[in-house]
């Protein structure tokens, strides 16, 4: 598969299996992730996209009976981030996540963005101010909120809340940014803003995005992996997947015959 990738690798998934107790949710996943590109995961509901994405920041460690097998190698450190002896917190400090539904904290806009820094023990006002502004700018939200940074985040619209969550994830300078269907709860205008933002962000950070919206994958991603029943059926450059898929299942899915 790695012949598909032309640039530098940020991560490599090798023979990844994942189990929710007895439920074998991911089967022998292999996938390269190119640095500073957008990789999209598509596939019908329940095929394991979220499960796969949440392996990258070890979210599954929060709940009992979950088990990983195989490797997710993070480059350039060349460490397997799903090894049990590696602290999940260490991984989450480098790999941020934006969730399906906007989930800001019931705190001020400022405190939402600053939280990741506070977790890292950064409390200097000046440094926080700088980082908060930079992240909000990065998430294309600064101009809309700069006069009300200390208002509650709940007062923002859904799209703004999701961009706030992106700013919150950016504040800690992650190496990989994970998106789990970030626009599924948003209206079309808010959606296209977030899509533009994602394309913008790949200049700075490697992005993996789960989406059930194929047009979205086509618009924002460089690479696309099609998943079905916990497996990766096909992985290729996005143009290729959407114009000339080599697997029959992929073709049926992107032409809307199932899913």
């Amino acid at each position: 598969m790695s012949v598909i990738i032309s640039g530098e690798l940020k991560a490599e998934v090798k023979n990844l299996n994942f189990y929710y107790g007895d439920v074998h949710a991911l089967r022998d996943i292999n996938l390269p992730i190119e640095r500073r590109k957008v990789s999209a995961l598509i596939g019908p509901s329940g095929c394991g996209k979220t499960t796969f994405l949440r392996c990258f920041n070890r979210m599954h460690d929060l709940y009992p009976h979950n088990r990983y097998e195989g490797k997710i190698i993070l480059h350039p450190d060349n460490i397997n981030i799903i090894l049990p002896e590696i602290d999940p917190i260490e991984i989450r400090m480098q790999i941020s996540m934006v969730f399906q539904k906007p989930n800001p904290f019931p705190k001020s806009i400022y405190e939402n963005v600053a939280y990741g820094l506070r977790v890292r023990g950064i409390n200097k006002r000046q440094l926080l101010d700088e980082k908060v502004e930079k992240s909000l700018r990065g998430a294309a939200l600064w101009d809309e909120v700069k006069d009300r940074l200390h208002n509650l985040a709940f007062d923002l619209s859904g799209g703004q809340q999701q961009r706030l969550c992106i700013a919150r994830a950016l504040a800690t300078d992650p190496r990989i940014l994970l998106f789990d269907e970030p626009t599924s709860a948003l209206d079309p205008t808010a959606t296209s803003k977030i899509e533009e933002l994602i394309v913008e962000l790949k200049n700075e950070v490697t992005i993996i995005i789960v989406t059930h919206n194929m047009q979205q994958a086509a618009r924002v991603s460089d690479y696309t992996a099609f998943m079905y029943l916990g497996e990766i059926i096909e992985f290729d450059k996005t143009d290729k997947i959407f114009t000339a898929p080599s697997n029959r299942l992929t073709e049926e899915y992107i032409t809307g015959r199932f899913g």
Partner: protein
């Protein structure tokens, strides 16, 4: 057509019957409560005066007051709050956020729910054995306060857990995803967002404790006390004293009980007056609880 109309009229008749029955049942409860309160006020309000609050009990009904009783209640509530809040909140947080879900936590859970239903006198017996005889705290404010703390502990734990459970999991995940530890998540999110519910639970617990008599009598509260506990603030170094913890005490409901059990009708007036004060204390606490809940609900809506 005529049949249908008759059928509808018949159905509506039963509607009406239930409406009347329901209204009457509600009224019975309300009227009874109202009568009780009015009766209490008619009997006791004449005795309510500044002097009533600043006098010790006495052999002469007109001179007797509730000074030692309300001061005792106040100090007791302080001990109860200081013991029950940290223990109850910590236990609630532990059970919700830290404890693994297994048979052991299931057993603990069932026990806590059952503890809330244990008759209060049992807590008195337990406190007597534990605090009076074992720890030798004496028949003191400390013992009484701890007995009531045990009594309301299950309520505080359950209120804490409920308030924590109301926090959506997406908030926890957002915090963990940024690299937070469990304690950081608890400290920055779980505690602040559940404070409203926890405070409400604590106040309702205390307002139950304030009227408890049985466990307090069991641990040996006195019925006639004509002095105050040692002041907690002293004029000399170190300016603070905990001697009051070991002083004997009485509380409002015991004072009331003592007065009603006397033969002279004059004392019954005192009892009614003290009853009014106790009821207002309870209502105030419940009012504060409702206000806190309202304030926090307004700020945090999931």
């Amino acid at each position: 057509m005529k049949n249908i109309k008759r059928r509808i009229a018949f159905n509506k008749f039963w509607d009406y019957v239930f409406w009347v029955t329901g209204l009457l049942s509600t009224l019975v409860g309300l009227v009874l409560l109202f009568t009780l309160i009015v009766d209490l006020f008619l009997d006791g309000s004449g005795r309510l005066s500044y002097k009533f609050f600043t006098s010790f009990p006495s052999r002469f009904p007109e001179e007797a007051g509730i000074l030692s009783a309300w001061v005792g209640t106040f100090f007791l509530m302080i001990v109860t709050a200081f013991a029950a809040i940290p223990l109850g909140v910590a236990a609630g947080i532990y059970l919700e956020e830290y404890a693994k879900k297994n048979w052991l936590t299931d057993i603990i859970e069932i026990n806590i729910a059952n503890l809330a239903g244990v008759p209060s006198i049992i807590y008195g017996l337990l406190a007597m054995g534990l605090f009076v005889y074992f720890f030798k705290f004496g028949e003191s404010i400390l013992t009484g306060g701890l007995a009531l703390a045990l009594l309301i502990l299950p309520m505080v734990i359950m209120a804490t857990r409920e308030a924590i459970r109301a926090i959506p999991n997406s908030i926890r995940e957002a915090s963990y995803a940024l690299g937070a530890t469990k304690w950081q998540t608890v400290w920055w999110h779980i505690i602040p967002y559940s404070t409203g519910g926890i405070l409400t639970g604590i106040i309702i617990g205390l307002s139950r404790a304030i009227g408890e008599t049985a466990p307090i009598i069991t641990v040996g509260a006195l019925t006639f006390i004509a002095f105050l506990p040692t002041p907690p603030i002293t004029s000399g170094f170190p300016f603070i004293s905990f001697k009051w913890l070991f002083d004997p005490f009485t509380v409002m409901p015991i004072q009331i009980f003592n007065w009603v059990s006397r033969p002279q009708a004059e004392f019954h007036i005192n009892a009614a007056a003290a009853g009014i004060v106790l009821m207002i204390m309870t209502l105030l606490m419940n009012g504060i609880a409702i206000y806190i809940r309202y304030r926090f609900r307004k700020k945090i809506k999931w």
